[in-house]
């Protein structure tokens, strides 16, 4: 779940009485102390630990001298892991490939997603209330499905001979690609075809969220504004561009941020549909973290990659805050 962007919408809490009354201490602290002790162990400590690990050449296979198995055969290497990211080793190249893939994926998903959901939301919003609910419910269906099942399903939909897509392409008389998921030399507008396939599957699975958010936001546009626009003669595309999009700006920003951040974290659909192939064209950062940490037990290196992922999420969130703040200024 991606929640970072929500913070921007936090309302100010109401000012209450100051201080706790005598009888309330036991309840408040009796509740909060266990919860925050728990968060200390399962939230704060892991965050600190992952930062610490990223400065070590750490593998749990080796027994270190110091606390948490660090030191000794798991030596402190300063910024070694981060410096290595710019190196020429296979590991560094894989990391950079994965990072570029993740960025490419996130940007393309965002563009394709918005190009579909925004107009579709306007169309859904324009039909009768009953039907609106029906369409909305169906469009949302893929988002609740198990990602593993969806990935397996789409792997079969893209099957070169038996798959639905290639047979549809043949049906309309075109030549389908030889292979969607395994051909490293096939590109569509410069994007590896396997990546295109993964993006299609992911957008199919994910577009319902943004659609529902947009529909809700559209319902919030006061009717008077639309009516005024109609009187001025603005319909269709002009209304969409001049009225709808500007009024949806805050929602649009939120949706962009949520979509970007969740695209950074996609794992299942890559792992199950392509396992990163062909030739690492669909290897994602999350796969890098998982494989380095749990297959190769190179947890120091994997931790430093985790922090890069965190930095990317943080960056997108901060950009959102910045833009929101500018919005509030006028």
């Amino acid at each position: 779940m991606t929640r970072a962007a929500i913070v921007g919408r936090a309302g100010e809490p109401r000012k209450e009485r100051t201080g706790l009354r005598p009888g309330q201490h036991a309840f408040v602290w009796g509740s909060l102390i266990p919860i925050f002790l728990y968060l200390g162990v399962f939230a704060l400590f892991p965050m600190i630990w992952v930062v610490v690990l990223s400065f070590f050449n750490y593998s749990p296979v080796r027994v270190g001298d110091g606390p948490l198995g660090l030191g000794g055969r798991n030596p402190f290497i300063g910024f070694g892991n981060f410096v290595a990211m710019f190196g020429t080793t296979q590991a560094a190249q894989l990391f950079r490939t994965a990072m570029m893939n993740t960025l490419l994926f996130a940007v393309l998903v965002l563009v394709v997603n918005l190009a579909i959901t925004l107009p579709l939301a306007v169309l859904v919003e324009s039909v009768h209330e009953r039907l609106k609910g029906f369409f909305r419910a169906i469009y949302f269906l893929p988002t609740v499905s198990s990602a593993v099942a969806v990935a397996i399903m789409w792997g079969y939909v893209f099957h070169p001979q038996q798959g639905l897509i290639n047979n549809l392409i043949k049906l309309v008389g075109l030549t389908p690609p030889r292979s969607w998921l395994t051909d490293p030399n096939a590109f569509f507008l410069g994007v590896p075809l396997a990546m295109v396939a993964v993006i299609i599957a992911y957008v199919w699975m994910d577009f319902g969220y943004n659609l529902v958010i947009f529909i809700a936001a559209l319902q919030g546009i006061p009717r008077e504004i639309r009516d005024a626009a109609h009187i001025d003669g603005a319909t269709g595309w002009a209304e969409f561009r001049r009225i709808t999009v500007p009024l949806l700006r805050p929602t649009l920003l939120l949706v962009c941020t949520l979509t970007m951040i969740s695209s950074f974290q996609v794992f299942v659909i890559f792992q199950v549909m392509t396992s990163g192939g062909p030739q690492n064209q669909t290897r994602s950062l999350t796969m890098e973290i998982y494989e380095n940490a749990f297959r190769y037990q190179a947890m120091g290196w994997a931790s430093s990659i985790s922090l890069v992922l965190f930095a990317m999420v943080l960056l997108v969130t901060l950009v959102q805050f910045r833009v929101l703040r500018t919005d509030w200024e006028y």
Binding site: Q90, P160, S179, T182, P184, N185, P278, Q279, N280, A298
Partner: protein
């Protein structure tokens, strides 16, 4: 309604928790229930024939040892290593693990595996019984850590499909005395739908196939893939380039297989052959065992492929699958009893090899092969080649070298996105990087 929903959820949660499927804490491996019966856990990778063979032997073991219960679980190969790594860290791995011989030493050096007790077998005794190549995978720093079930020789043979040969008018069974004959015949076997190869003629583009072919090609030209220190690698050699060039020519000139549609990720040699999408597939004889179980209706044979260079075979032989015991096991004695039962007792070892179509690791079974061949005739082509197989050596991380260094680089050459020289240099650099980065 909303409130009821919440109450309902809490009630269900408590109910489910009460009859929770998993006990609150993971039951430590091999914990003894009150009945006094010992429970052993055994893990292996997923291969239908291996599973069938192991299950039969386990059933027999439990019959003879009513005080021991064996729980047998399998993992998808891709997840097996990760599961071993994470569970060993936590001490929740099985008592007995079916491990690939070439992996064993890296786990043994990490202190994860139990040393074989002398009363079960000493190395000297094991040497008498087992072939050296498979056994050496289990022998690290002068200590023995388990026993092999198979002699892994993945090379020198191919599955062939009579119907698809006859459909193309290619002589069957094929007698491939040299590579030129093989290439000429294989180039007549593929089936096309327009430009798309829907059936491969000779599918050798597998995760095991490409690395083994590369090593075989290097050895047969008199080269070596190890550097002089015996730890690092040397793949930047004319022998390596020539081998990759040969494989690339088979794809690009002879078009025996389309490496984009047929490779380890989709339509691998095993899967495509038994789905009827390859007339011949280059693969170890174990593939026939697994295929017989999964596809009982398909007629096939297993025949020899020729040396890649010259007239003399020279193979790198992996150690092969066998059984080891976790150092964390609380029932070492029972665990070793099971290991010995499954690997060293001739009748069981024979049952394992015939069901799985693997080459025996026990010398006795090969010296008198009648029993083996009666039930698994397709191993015969490989048996003839055993003298040409030499232990592959310590590859640091065998799976990484095979599947993430050699296979992708050779595949890129086959697919035309690298020259053979570049592929050899890439393998060379990455393999040595792996050695330097090893824990």
């Amino acid at each position: 309604m909303q409130r009821k929903l919440v109450v309902l959820m809490v009630v269900v949660a408590l109910l489910v928790a009460a009859c929770a499927p998993g006990a609150p804490a993971a039951a430590p491996s091999g914990e003894q229930p009150a009945t006094g019966k010992i429970t052993l856990r055994l893990w292996s990778h997923q291969n239908t024939a291996f599973i069938q063979a192991n299950e039969a032997i386990i059933a027999k073991f439990m019959e003879q040892n009513p005080d021991i219960e064996v729980k047998y679980e399998q993992f998808a190969y891709d997840q097996f290593i990760q599961a071993l790594q994470t569970s060993m860290q936590a001490g929740t791995e099985a008592d007995v693990i079916e491990m690939f011989g070439t992996w064993v030493c890296s786990y043994a050096q990490g202190g994860r595996l139990a040393e074989m007790p002398m009363n079960i077998m000493s190395y000297a005794e094991a040497e008498e019984l087992f072939f050296e190549a498979p056994l050496n995978g289990y022998y690290c720093d002068g200590k023995l850590y388990g026993l092999p079930n198979e002699f892994n020789l993945e090379v020198g043979g191919a599955l062939v499909n009579p119907a698809l040969f006859e459909g193309k008018g290619v002589p069957y069974p094929p007698v491939w005395s040299d590579m030129d004959t093989l290439r000429e015949q294989a180039s007549r076997l593929p089936e096309f739908d327009g430009d798309t190869m829907v059936r491969a003629g000779f599918n050798f583009v597998g995760g095991d196939g490409l690395p083994f072919l590369l090593l075989q090609g290097i050895l047969e030209q008199g080269g070596s893939y190890f550097a002089e220190d015996g730890v690092h690698f040397n793949f930047d050699t004319p022998e390596a380039v020539a081998t990759i060039q040969l494989l690339t020519d088979m794809v690009q000139k002879d078009k025996v297989v389309d490496p984009i549609l047929f490779n380890a990720d989709s339509n691998d040699p095993w899967g495509s052959f038994f789905a009827g999408n390859a007339a011949a597939s280059f693969i170890g004889s174990w593939a026939a065992g697994a295929g017989r179980v999964d596809y009982p209706d398909l007629a096939f044979d297993y025949v020899n492929t020729p040396p890649l260079f010259g007239d003399e075979y020279n193979f790198a032989a992996d150690s092969g699958w066998g059984k080891v015991v976790s150092a964390n096991s609380r029932n070492q004695e029972a665990a070793w009893k099971l290991v010995e039962f499954m690997t060293a007792e001739q009748a069981n070892a024979l049952a394992f090899n015939t069901t799985t179509g693997t080459i025996p690791a026990l010398k006795a079974l090969v010296e008198n092969p009648e029993a083996l061949l009666a039930d698994a005739p397709w191993v015969e082509p490989t048996l003839k080649l055993l003298p040409h197989g030499h232990y592959i050596g310590d590859l640091t991380d065998r799976d990484k070298l095979f599947y993430e260094i050699i296979y992708p680089a050779v595949l890129q050459s086959l697919q035309g996105s690298m020259t053979p020289e570049q592929a050899a240099q890439t393998i060379h650099a990455q393999a040595n990087e792996m050695v330097d980065a090893a824990p």
